[in-house]
Every structure is written in structure tokens, then in C-alpha cells.
Symmetry: C2
Amino acid sequence: MSLARALPKNRTGDKSAYHHGDLSDALLVEAKRLVNKYGVENISLRQVAVNVGVSPSAAYHHFPDKESLLKAAAKSAFEDMADFQERALQDLNGISALAVRRRFRALGQSYVGFAKKNPHLFRLAFGPYCAGEDMNREESRPWQMLLAVLQELDEIGDIHPGMRAYAEILIWSTIHGTANLILDGLLPVETVDPVIQSLELALKSAGKVAK
Amino acid sequence: MSLARALPKNRTGDKSAYHHGDLSDALLVEAKRLVNKYGVENISLRQVAVNVGVSPSAAYHHFPDKESLLKAAAKSAFEDMADFQERALQDLNGISALAVRRRFRALGQSYVGFAKKNPHLFRLAFGPYCAGEDMNREESRPWQMLLAVLQELDEIGDIHPGMRAYAEILIWSTIHGTANLILDGLLPVETVDPVIQSLELALKSAGKVAK
DNA sequence: TGTACATCAGTGAACGCGCGTTCACTGATGTAC
DNA sequence: TGTACATCAGTGAACGCGCGTTCACTGATGTAC
């Protein structure tokens, strides 16, 4: 019995189960696992199937082709990141200015934190397999979380009126850029805190921009 | 005679030349061309060689393996971007505050402009083939250009002392993030100008950040 | 409750393919005398 | 200037490989009567 075969084949643990039970999900999970380990360009449908304990052709009953599987994985990875950020905010309740600012920082830190912890998943979530079509910024959870925290930040007077309009986009770009540059080895991890602090500073008080 | 064979084989145009003349460079150029057309994960050493009019094995006299060729291409793509930015600054001389600010904007715009124009090359330049080892931020031309312009911006009083320390990193992160999000289809191209303007605003005047 | 049968979700062999790389080779070039 | 020869930079056939996908199949499941 091969190692791969020894993996559980279904939810109920029925050893002789011919049908997997939740193959669709199992393939997705294993695909993400392999992507995170080797990078999206280094994984094969066959490997995913074999690791799940199923023949490669079985996957075609659940996904029309490899690309579909990877797209599903990308979408799921994006949600994983949103979960990760949500967990980071979980214990930071409170309505004090201090609490609000802590939430703002946690949002940025968790964004970069997820990328650092799961670089290949992070790349998958944003790369060509997710971008476009059904991926909508406005409706994504990370975006919504950012909107909410900025709203709070605004309410405690931490956002200068002149900075309000493009605050979301400025912040998202900055944090996303920081995450990417860190993954590329072009910025050290330590830069994330100063960057976030600079953003706070920038939001709080801004003069008029010259022509 | 195949189409590929019809390509010029050397610099002097000698039709019957057995030796190419500058195969190393030709491979590099063609590799970049193909990457830019199909993305780095979709090109093969063989295709590069054939397009240049040479047998696949010939490449091994110039690069130990495919990875080396791609690394060289990545490095070259990065320099292409620097060239692109330099050209953008070329006609923006002058020492007036207005001229300085124009240069600052041009730097950001050309960064995103290059990415937009050559998305796959941009990704190659930053992806896993360039990151790390001999890629040094401090010494890279884009970084040096940014340093210079920020210095100028500082001299005309457009940078609040509190923002000076991390200005470079903040700006690079932001512009890099904007470029990436645009390529991913998560931000429209039009956001680049507001983002740059927000940055200017942010730099110019910043209060103290609360604890 | 038992049986017939349609449907679902697997198997496993096979396909053709293009890939990176190796190897023995050979034509062209440049240098020493 | 001519010749011998080492070196350089190509060729092309071959290697083994793993890939995505297809196909005819079959075991398991669920439903109608």
C-alpha cells in the first residue's frame, strides 16, 4: 500500500469506500497545499490527484481541466487570506482611538503577515489565476475590512479631509507593494511597521498639494 | 527554408555564417521577447533557440541551463525598466519646484507605465528569477533615481521632516503595489495619478502620529 | 422489502506532446611557426 | 604568406520524463415499482 493510498479517502473514514465522499474539496485543499509548497508553476494535476489517493482522471469529474482547479484554488487562497486578517482583528475590539488605531495596524500587519507565511498562496491569490472576471475588489472581504477601519479612523479624527478620498487605494497599494517587495527579497520584513506608521502619519495631517 | 531559419544569424548579415556572432545576446533578447509575449512560465529554451535560428543545444555553449538564461533575462528586464524611467526623466530638466515635482510624478508614472506596457517583463524583473542574491535594492538604478528626486523634493521644502526617514520605502511600496494591483486587474489604470498626488500630499505635511 | 436499472464517481491504460539536457560530431576561426 | 593544429561554437539525433487529457470500463449508490 503506497503512502498516498494510505491517506483517508472520505469523510467517514470508510476504508473500502470506492467513492471518495468529498473529492472536490480534497483536491482543492491538496492543490493549495502543493502550491504553497512548490509554487503554482510547479504543480501538476496528476500529483494533486495521487496525493489525495485517487487516479488522475478522477479529477475530471469535478473540474473540467487543470486551470479550473487552480482558479478555484486561487479563489480559496484569497478567502484564506481574508480569514487570516479577520482573525487578526478578532481580539482587537473596543471603540477607543487607541483600539481603532490598533485595528488599522493589525490590518496591514496581517496582510503582510499572510504573504510572508504563505508566499506562494499569496502569489496564487493575486496572480493570473484570480485576477479579472469574477474577482471584484469592491466586494472582497479585505477591501471591506479596510473600508470599515478607515471609517472608524475617520471618526476619531485621524484622517485629514484632503486625504480621505483616495485613502483606501493609497493604503492598499502601499501594503500590497510592501508585501510583494518583501517576498521578492527587496525589502526586509522590518520595514512593514515603519511603512504603516508613515501611512498613519500621512493620513492624519496633510497640507495642500502644489500644482 | 523555415521561417525561423530566415532570421538573421549574425550581426554582419553573413548568410552562410556557421557561427552566429552574438548568440548569447540574441538568446537573451529573444527570451525577453517571448517572456513578454507569453509569460515566463510559458516559454521554453527550445523555442528561444529555434526562433533565433539555432539548434537548442547551441544555447548550452552560452548558458549552463534554462534557469541561467531566465535569470539573465530577468536582470536585463530590470535594466530595461530603469532605461524606461530614465527616458521619462530625460526631458524634465530644470531646477524650479515645478520641475522637481514633475520629475517626481514622472518617476511614479513611468514605473507603472513600464509595468502596464510590459506586464510579463515587469513580473519577470521582480519575480523569483531576479529576487535575492545579486539583486540589490540600494544599488539599483530605479532606487537611485528615487533617492535623487526625493533629495530634490526635500530641498524645495516639499517633505515634512517627520516623513523624510521612510519616504523612499513608502513611495516605492506604494508605486510597486499600484503597478501590481493594476496588472492583477484589481485597480483601474486611472488610479495611478491620484495615488501619486496623495503621496505628494502625504509627504508635504504630516503631523505627529499618535501612540 | 426486494429487485431492476439509471446514474454517479471512480479506475487504469493509453495517447501524443514538448520539454531540458546530453553527446559525439563537425565546420569555422584564430594562432604559432 | 602558407600550413598545422587547437579551440570555439555550432549541429542533430537521441534520452527519459512527466504532463494534461481521453476513453472504455466498472463498482457503488439511490430510486421506482
